[in-house]
């Protein structure tokens, strides 16, 4: 079986698995990293949102063979380490606003929020309602308003 090597949450990992297995299943079924959730498997619900080299991506839609050895994959489990703290400011904002209901979509929501805020900041501007409207992550509990508040709060600390 082919071997695939990439960086996951700061550590180099190597897995023995067929080329075409999507990264979500490599993370969940082989490496036991369960923060990224399955909600559709076709890059629609965004529950698996994680980061690749600091940008948001959906591992349900990437084959493991397309990861390079130098690619750094960050899941919700590795997010605090990216800022060298126990919690990323976006996670803290999530706690302050008591955003989560069932919590199933929240790892993906937070990873999407962090990437969105970084992108907006790189453009040298503050987050707008139009930016928030562009978030595609489904929250079936419907806690959208608290997600919006938390992102605005989190963005001030990033």
């Amino acid at each position: 079986m082919p071997k695939h090597t990439f960086k996951l949450n700061g550590e180099t990992v190597t897995v023995d698995v067929e080329d075409d297995v999507r990264v979500l299943w490599v993370l969940r079924d082989i490496l036991g990293v369960t923060g990224p959730k399955y909600g559709c498997g076709i890059n629609v619900c965004k529950a698996c949102t994680s980061h690749i080299n600091g940008k948001a991506f959906n591992p349900c839609s990437v084959q493991v063979k397309d990861l390079k050895e130098t690619d750094e994959v960050t899941t919700i489990e590795g997010l605090p380490d990216t800022v060298g703290k126990e919690l990323h400011p976006m996670q803290q904002a999530w706690l302050d606003r008591d955003v989560a209901q069932c919590g199933y979509c929240q790892p993906g929501q937070i990873m999407a929020a962090v990437a969105l805020v970084k992108k907006v900041k790189a453009e040298g501007r503050a987050i707008t309602n139009a930016d928030l409207d562009s978030i595609r992550n489904v929250c079936r509990c419907g806690t959208y308003s608290r997600i919006r508040e938390a992102i605005k709060q989190g963005s001030t600390k990033m």
């Binding site: 075409d20 079924d29 076709i42 629609v44 991506f57 959906n58 996670q91 919590g103 978030i135 419907g142």
Partner: protein
């Protein structure tokens, strides 16, 4: 003083003294003195009967009308509702729930209900923290596995958890504190009356202190004893009623919170099912079994009643195998049918509107509405882990009715129920979906067929196509108006039958002989309908009746959050709009004039004030208002809806934009509130559901199959549909009775959005969701064979 042990539903509650009798709320909620048990063990374990304090409310007296409204006789739900039924259903059981305090001073409680996001582990921990004087962080609430001895007392539904567990949980916690104080008195050498307990520490002024952990071992009892216990007065509450964050929030935001598919059960490999192309089709034969077994990662293939199961190293390989399977299918249960055919069946089944004789000058106002199928799926799809060995099985799944799951799994495998262990895992949402154990039964069958543990999960595409839906329904209403009065209000709701075979029906069967008002003679659905629907207005002769087409096996249906109420209330509130027009009255003024109950009027007045009702709005935008009364409480919602072309026609990839609720204000009176922050969260979710059901989310039946296959087809509320401004006001209540929260926000939100659409566009909507006929244009239908789509490979093109 009597105990609760032998109380029957018809007994009154006896009080220790007259003052308490005066203070007490109906149904014994004002009682403070109960009996609990200290259970034999090596650390402190205390218990209460789960039915303690669970008495249905007394029959309400009809509110007096004022002025022109003609008082309506009370509807059944006013006197005795679904909350009372569920609470009463528990009475014949006499089983204990236990709180343990360990050596570290942590209180442990296994809640016989399911957490699905509604926040009951948090609110229950708060109730325990309150009576035990413990910090919230020292209370651990887990979910109890299926406990057959609880009989019907382990169903999570009808927003009933806190209503039915509030008193027994307090009794157990108060008893634990009493025993800890007794033990501390011995350890500290002082009188109990002098001791102070705070934050898990008991101190004797001037005489040292002990922790709960130190006292717990001493408080343990070698034998089980019955002990009298007194609860705190509401005026002493420091935790109950204060806003608290969820106890599982940190786990949720760090990815540590475990759902069924996150559990590490040895050898439980991913398993998925190849499902039929049409609703409820059944597998006949597999044409390429050997070829699929030879695919990478695949370990097992087996035919189940609902499809063909494949087990593989990863779910990705299961998806590939499901797509490769060539299965011959038997016909489904709705072959060739579409939405219009179902509507035709419903129209044929509608009961006639039989308005009593009214004066000849009375004017008739009529309206008719249609509500389409809606998938009830949560974001976490149906799933379960199952491990079968030597005639015994252990299952882990999110199950709101674990006892029924246990029985169904035993039936499916042909083993005794005692050989089935069902562990209840927190769910990634439910909305009624997890009342049934479809995934758990399949997992059990697959585990037995394979002889190996499985982690079975539905593909997203399976959910709207083969999963349970909110049934399609119609609602016809006729009212008669004479002068300034409404003489009659007749509502006939007709639907595809709702499947209640998850246990609620069994409760009704069980209780049929005892039920007041002759409910025992009705079918389950009709009973649930009558137990939940309460118009709430004085409109002379009021009847609201349900007819369901008897096709329970035809469509997979279930209760979906708030069951009948979103549809029934949207229809009746739009009718209120027509009646207000007929009387030339403002919609809020009209409702305040005709509403029966002060609590409902109060939430309406409040929402009108906070949302600035009647303010000037730009053309193409409007406010809409609606009320709802259920779950021992009331809500009122006002939304501001933007129907201007620049909003409706916003272009977002693979999305339906449509009219947008720019601002939503909801006011709720939920009686005694445990956690206002949690209640507000449930209202926010209810508003999101109401918006979706009014505007965008539905399933389309075409040629025997539902078209929708994912969240880019089934248009639940997304960020671009969410209100830019959301406000929830929780009314202060003197009630000592907690009301329901989980479902309470849906109906008035859906109705208010519909009303706002009518006002903004000038056209009263009659088919829901309003965009039902347009949404199929917004997506390309995914193929039905193979039944699930290929996983994309272009994810790296969409990074940001």
């Amino acid at each position: 003083m009597t105990t609760d042990q032998h109380r029957t539903p018809t007994d009154g509650v006896e009080f220790e003294d007259e003052q308490e009798a005066v203070d007490a709320a109906p149904g014994g909620l004002g009682r403070r003195h109960f009996v609990g048990y200290v259970v034999a063990g090596s650390t402190l374990a205390v218990a209460a009967d789960l039915t303690t304090g669970a008495m249905p409310a007394d029959a309400a007296t009809p509110a007096a009308g004022s002025g022109t409204p003609i008082p309506s006789a009370p509807q059944i739900a006013e006197a005795y509702d679904l909350e009372d039924l569920q609470t009463q259903a528990a009475l014949p059981t006499s089983q204990l729930i236990t709180i343990e305090v360990d050596k570290d001073g942590v209180a442990h409680f296994a809640l016989p209900r399911m957490e699905v996001g509604q926040g009951i582990t948090t609110s229950t921990a708060m109730i325990i923290a309150e009576e035990l004087d413990l910090p919230l962080s020292k209370v651990q609430v887990s979910l109890a596995p299926a406990r057959p001895e609880l009989l019907f007392n382990q169903l999570t539904g009808g927003s009933n958890t806190t209503v039915s567990t509030y008193t027994p949980v307090r009794v157990a916690a108060a008893l634990a504190k009493k025993r800890l104080l007794d033990a501390a008195a011995i350890l500290l050498g002082g009188q109990v009356a002098l001791l102070k307990s705070k934050e898990g520490i008991i101190s004797l002024p001037g005489g040292g202190s002990v922790t709960y952990g130190e006292a717990a071992a001493k408080a343990a009892s070698p034998s089980t004893e019955k002990v009298d216990v007194t609860l705190k007065k509401p005026s002493e509450h420091k935790v109950i009623g204060t806003p608290r964050n969820r106890v599982d929030a940190l786990d949720a935001v760090t990815g540590k919170k475990q759902f069924s598919m996150d559990l590490a059960v040895k050898d439980a490999l991913p398993t998925m099912i190849c499902r039929p192309p049409t609703v409820n089709g059944k597998p006949k034969s597999i044409k390429n079994r050997a070829a699929v077994l030879a695919m990478p990662g695949v370990t097992h293939v087996a035919t189940l009643p609902t499809g063909v199961a494949v087990r593989a190293r990863t779910f990705g390989q299961c998806i590939d195998a499901v797509r490769a399977l060539q299965v011959v299918w038997n016909r489904g249960t709705v072959e060739g049918m579409d939405d219009e055919a179902v509507l035709k069946q419903l129209r044929a089944a509608q009961l006639p509107l039989a308005v009593p004789k009214v004066p000849i000058l009375a004017k008739t106002v009529e309206a008719s509405f249609e509500f389409m199928f809606r998938s009830g799926a949560a974001l976490e799809p149906n799933c379960a882990v199952a491990d079968y060995k030597d005639g015994k099985i252990t299952v882990w799944a999110g199950l709101k009715s674990p006892l029924v799951a246990q029985a169904n799994i035993a039936d499916a495998l042909g083993i005794p129920q005692t050989n089935v262990t069902v562990n209840v895992i927190t769910g990634g949402g439910s909305f009624g979906h997890k009342l049934f154990s479809d995934g758990a039964i399949e997992a059990a069958r697959a585990a037995k067929a394979f002889g190996k543990p499985v982690k079975l999960m539905w593909h997203r595409c399976d959910e709207p196509r083969q999963g349970r839906s909110h049934p399609m329904s119609t609602s016809r209403i006729r009212a008669t108006v004479l002068g300034n009065s409404i003489l009659t209000f007749e509502q006939r709701h007709t639907g595809v039958s709702t499947d209640f075979r998850h246990g609620l029906g069994e409760r009704l069967t069980n209780l049929a002989a005892d039920l007041p008002t002759g409910l025992g003679n009705l079918g389950f659905s009709e009973s649930i309908f009558l137990l939940t629907q309460e118009l709430g207005y004085n409109m002379g002769v009021v009847t609201q009746l349900l007819t369901e087409t008897k096709n329970q096996e035809q469509f997979p249906t279930s209760s979906v959050r708030n069951i009948y109420s979103p549809d029934v209330r949207t229809a009746s509130e739009l009718m209120m709009g027509k009646l207000a027009e007929a009387l030339k009255m403002d919609p809020v003024e009209f409702r305040l004039r005709f509403l029966k109950e002060e609590r409902t009027k109060a939430v309406l007045r409040k929402v009108a004030e906070v949302a600035n009702w009647g303010k000037t709005m730009p053309k193409g935008t409007a406010q809409g208002v609606a009320i709802h009364k259920e779950y021992k409480g009331a809500t009122a919602t006002i939304v501001e809806l933007d129907c201007r072309p620049e909003t409706v026609n916003r272009k977002i990839r693979d999305a339906v934009t449509g009219p947008r609720v720019m601002r939503a204000t909801i006011v709720v009176d939920a009686g005694l509130v445990i956690n206002p922050r949690g209640l507000e969260a449930q209202m926010m979710g209810g508003v999101s559901d109401g918006i979706a059901q009014a505007l965008t989310s539905s399933s389309h039946l075409r040629n025997g199959s539902f078209l929708e296959g994912s969240w880019d087809n089934f248009f639940y509320t997304r960020q671009w549909n969410a209100p830019l401004d959301f406000q929830c006001v929780v009314m202060k209540s003197d009630s000592e009775q907690p009301g329901g929260a989980g479902e309470a926000g849906v109906a008035s939100s859906m109705a208010a959005t519909a009303a706002a659409y009518w006002k903004a566009t000038g056209t009263m909507p009659t088919r829901f969701p309003i965009l039902h006929d347009q949404t199929p244009d917004a997506f390309e239908v995914k193929p039905f064979s193979p039944p699930i789509p290929e996983s994309p490979t272009d994810g790296l093109q969409y990074t940001y």
